[in-house]
C-alpha cells in the first residue's frame, strides 16, 4: 500500500521539501511509494485525508500554531522534517533579539506579527524527527521505505566523526578549527567536513555526548570559546547548551 502523505511548510526556506524532488535518478521509484495527498509546492490537488504529515520549518506566528494543530488532528504520524522543525534551526537566532526591536528594524512603517521561534515539538506531539539542514534525501528514502514496510525507524547513534574518518578527511582540529563533528549525530556522510568546512551540528547531538569533555578539548587546544558558542548556537540544536532566551 502506498503511504498517504502530505507535506506542509512553516517558517523556513523550503529546502527540505525541495529534497523530495531531488535524487532525480530514483525519483520516479520513490514517488511510486507515495500517495501524495497534499503538497502545495508541487501540486494543485489538495486533500485532507493523509496518514503521514511531514512538517517543515519552525513556528513563529499564531496562525501557524492553529494550522499545525489541525494537521496534528488529522495525521496518524507527524514527522518533524529538517533542522528548523526539529530544533528551531537558524531561525532561532532571531530569539537573541527583542521582538519589538526586530520588528521596528525590518518593518518600520507597518504592523507585522511575529512570535519567538519554536520547534514543532513545543507546539504539538512529534512522532519522530528527521534532522538535517537540509535533510539528506537518501536517509529520507530509507525512512519512507521503513514506514511503508512497517519496520522500525532509526537514526544513526554515532557522531559525524565516524563518517568523516571513513572518508579519509584530514581532521579540521588538526588545521586549528573547531568542528562540532564529535558531538553531532551522523547521517549526512560528513558532507561539510568533506568540503573542508566545520560541522555546525545541524543534525543535533549524537547519543551520549559528553559536552564538558568537548569544551575541555577546545580549551586544551587554546581555541576560541566565542567561536565554539557561535557554532553551537547556529542551529539551536544543542538544547541547554545554546539557549537563546535572554
Amino acid at each position: 500500500m502506498k503511504l498517504k502523505i502530505a507535506s506542509f511548510d512553516f517558517t523556513c526556506c523550503e529546502g527540505c521539501q525541495l529534497q523530495l524532488a531531488n535524487g532525480e535518478s530514483t525519483l520516479t521509484d520513490f514517488l511510486e511509494l507515495l500517495d501524495i495527498r497534499n503538497f502545495r509546492e508541487l501540486s494543485s490537488e489538495q486533500y485532507n485525508d493523509y496518514d503521514i504529515a511531514l512538517i517543515e520549518g519552525s513556528i513563529s506566528r499564531q496562525d501557524e500554531i492553529e494550522r499545525l494543530q489541525a494537521i496534528r488532528q488529522q495525521a496518524k504520524t507527524l514527522v518533524a522534517f529538517g533542522t528548523c522543525a526539529c530544533f528551531g534551526g537558524v531561525n532561532s537566532l532571531k530569539n537573541k533579539f527583542p521582538l519589538n526591536e526586530t520588528l521596528a528594524e525590518v518593518y518600520p512603517e507597518m504592523p507585522v506579527e511575529t512570535l519567538l521561534v519554536r520547534k514543532i515539538s513545543e507546539v504539538v506531539k512529534v512522532d519522530f524527527s528527521i534532522p538535517g539542514c537540509p535533510v539528506n534525501k537518501e536517509e529520507v528514502e530509507r525512512i519512507m521505505v521503513c514506514l511503508a514496510t512497517g519496520s522500525l525507524v532509526t537514526l544513526p547513534k554515532h557522531p559525524v566523526c565516524v563518517e568523516c574518518k571513513a572518508r579519509l578527511n584530514t581532521c579540521l582540529f588538526e588545521l586549528g578549527e573547531i568542528c562540532l563533528g564529535p558531538i553531532t549525530r551522523a547521517g549526512c556522510n560528513a558532507v561539510c567536513t568533506t568540503g573542508k568546512t566545520p560541522c555546525l551540528g545541524c543534525r543535533g547531538p549524537s547519543e551520549e555526548i559528553n559536552m564538558p569533555a568537548f569544551v575541555e578539548l577546545i580549551r586544551e587546544r587554546k581555541l576560541s570559546l566565542d567561536d565554539l558558542q557561535e557554532k553551537i548556537a547556529f542551529y539551536n540544536a544543542f538544547g541547554e547548551f545554546c539557549s537563546h532566551e535572554a
Binding site: D9, F10, T11, C12, C13, E14, G15, C16, Q17, L18, Q19, A21, N22, E24, S25, L27, T28, L31, I36, F39, R40, E41, L42, S43, S44, E45, Q46, S60, R61, E64, G89, V90, N91, L93, K94, K96, F97, E101, T102, E105, V106, Y107, E109, M110, P111, V112, T114, C133, P134, V191, C192, T194, G195, K196, T197, L200, D227, E230, K231, F234
Partner: protein, 424 residues
C-alpha cells in the same frame, strides 16, 4: 458582458511559499486585483547581526532552499568588497560554475514541475510521468545535471559547503570535472527534447510595457557582480542598489514592493535576456531566434522561454568553464584575510533575478548592519499590475471565470516567484 466576478485564491499552489490572488469584477469592470504575500517573515537581516563574517554565507544561504548558492555568493561578494579581499581566479571560475548549476536546477524545477502542468492541464507533474515519459525524463536529467554541477563545485547543491569568504574551502578534483563535462555532453539531447516540447505550446499573448532590470558587465552574460542597468536606460554602480529598488510596503503583503523609473519593474531571466541577449552563447541565440524572442519583449509568459534559452547557454558555458579549469592549477583557491571594518553591496543574478546583499562589518569582521533585497520582491509590483491588466484583457476577450482564474495563476507562475525567499 456586464458581469460580477470574484476570485479569491488563498495560498496559490505550485509556487514556493504562501501568497494569495484576489480579483473583483463588478458590472464587467475590474474593481481590484491584488497580489498579497502572506508568508511568515524570518528576519534574517536581524539574525545575521553579530555573526562573524566567515559564518555569514552559511546563514544567508538558508534564506532560500532553491537559490542558496546565490545567497551565499551575494553575501560573500559583499563581505569581500567590504573587507577588500580579492579571491583567486580559480575560485571565481568555480563560483561561476556553481551559479550555472543552481540556475539550471532552478529553471528545470520551475519549467517542468511548476509550469508544464498548466499547459498540459494537469494538477501536477505526477500524471505526466506516465503520459509524457520522455519529456519528464528529460526534465529530470536536466535538473539532476544542475544539481550535480553545483555539488561538484560547491560541495552540496542545497546549502553549499565550500563557498567561503576569500575563495573556496575546497576545489573540485580534475577527475570530477572531467566526469561533469561528459555528463553535460550526454544531456544536451534532453535539452533539445525540452525545446521541441516548448515549441508546441501556445504561450498566451499578453503584453504590458514595463522596465527590466539586471546586472551587466559588458563582457559576459551576467552572473556575479557588475553594473545595475535597466531597459529604460538607467545605469548605476553596484553599491547604489537602493536607488535601483526604492522599497516600499503595502499593508496587505509581508513582502515589500520596489520601483525604479515607472510604477513597477521586473527582474529574472527575461530581464537578463532583454538587457544582455547579445552576450548569450551562439547556440542559445539560435534557440531564442527559433522562439522569435527579441529584446525588449514585454510578455511576462516569455520568461519561461527565456529560462529555457538560459539553460542552453548554461550547458555551453559550463563546458567552456570546465575546459578552462582543467588547464589551471587548482591549488590556490583561498586568499587569507584579516577581518576589517567596511561596507559594500554584493549583487548576483540569482535564477529569479538580481539579488542584493548589503553588509557592514566592524573591525572584528562581525556584521553590524545587513540589508537583503530579493528578486521576487522586485517583481511583486509587476505581478500586481499584470494581474490587473490581464484580467481587463480577459474580460474584453470574453473569457469565462475559469479561464480568467487560470490566466491569473499562470501569469504569476511565469515570474517563478520565490515567496519564502522574498519574506526573509
Amino acid at each position: 458582458m456586464k458581469r460580477d466576478y470574484t476570485l479569491d485564491i488563498r495560498h496559490l499552489t505550485r509556487v514556493e511559499g504562501h501568497a494569495n490572488i484576489s480579483i473583483s469584477v463588478k458590472n464587467g469592470e475590474l474593481v481590484d486585483a491584488r497580489w498579497a504575500v502572506v508568508e511568515t517573515p524570518r528576519f534574517f537581516e536581524v539574525m545575521v547581526k553579530g555573526l562573524s563574517a566567515e559564518r555569514v554565507p552559511f546563514l544567508t544561504s538558508r534564506i532560500c532552499g532553491i537559490c542558496s548558492i546565490s545567497h551565499a555568493l551575494a553575501s560573500i561578494r559583499a563581505l569581500e568588497r567590504a573587507m577588500k579581499i580579492a579571491p583567486p581566479n580559480a575560485a571565481e571560475k568555480i563560483r561561476l560554475l556553481a551559479m550555472h548549476g543552481e540556475t539550471l536546477q532552478s529553471h528545470a524545477l520551475h519549467l517542468f514541475f511548476l509550469v508544464v502542468p498548466d499547459f498540459t492541464g494537469t494538477a501536477s507533474i505526477l500524471p505526466l510521468i506516465h503520459s509524457h515519459p520522455d519529456l519528464i525524463k528529460a526534465g529530470l536529467l536536466l535538473k539532476e545535471l544542475g544539481n550535480e554541477i553545483s555539488t561538484v563545485s560547491a560541495g552540496r547543491c542545497t546549502h553549499p559547503v565550500s563557498l567561503v569568504v576569500g575563495g573556496l574551502s575546497k576545489a573540485p578534483e580534475k577527475q570530477q570535472l572531467l566526469q561533469l563535462r561528459t555528463m553535460i555532453e550526454e544531456r544536451k539531447p534532453a535539452l533539445e527534447t525540452a525545446c521541441s516540447f516548448f515549441h508546441t505550446l501556445a504561450i498566451p499573448d499578453f503584453q504590458r510595457e514595463t522596465e527590466f532590470i539586471s546586472l551587466c558587465n559588458g563582457s559576459s552574460y551576467p552572473s556575479i557582480g557588475g553594473d545595475l542597468i535597466s531597459t529604460d536606460g538607467v545605469k548605476r554602480n553596484e553599491n547604489d542598489y537602493l536607488l535601483m529598488t526604492n522599497e516600499y510596503t503595502h499593508d496587505f503583503s509581508t513582502s515589500k514592493f520596489t520601483r525604479l523609473s515607472r510604477e513597477s519593474s521586473a527582474a529574472g531571466a527575461l530581464a537578463r535576456f532583454n538587457n544582455n541577449c547579445n552576450l548569450l552563447h551562439p547556440k542559445a541565440k539560435e534557440v531564442a531566434e527559433s522562439f522569435a524572442l527579441q529584446p525588449v519583449c514585454h510578455n511576462p509568459f516569455m520568461n519561461n522561454i527565456a529560462q529555457l534559452i538560459e539553460c542552453v547557454h548554461i550547458l555551453e558555458d559550463a563546458e567552456e568553464l570546465i575546459n578552462v579549469l582543467l588547464n589551471m592549477e587548482l591549488h590556490e583557491i583561498k586568499t587569507p584575510y584579516v577581518p576589517k571594518a567596511g561596507s559594500a553591496t554584493g549583487a548576483v543574478e540569482a535564477p529569479r533575478g538580481i539579488l542584493y546583499h548589503h553588509l557592514e562589518t566592524n573591525e572584528e569582521g562581525k556584521v553590524v548592519q545587513a540589508d537583503c533585497i530579493i528578486p521576487t520582491t522586485q517583481n511583486n509590483a509587476n505581478i500586481h499590475n499584470d494581474l490587473k491588466a490581464i484580467t481587463k484583457q480577459a474580460l474584453k476577450d470574453g473569457k469565462n471565470d475559469r479561464e480568467i482564474e487560470k490566466l491569473c495563476e499562470m501569469v504569476v507562475r511565469s515570474y517563478d516567484p520565490c515567496i519564502s525567499c522574498s519574506v526573509h
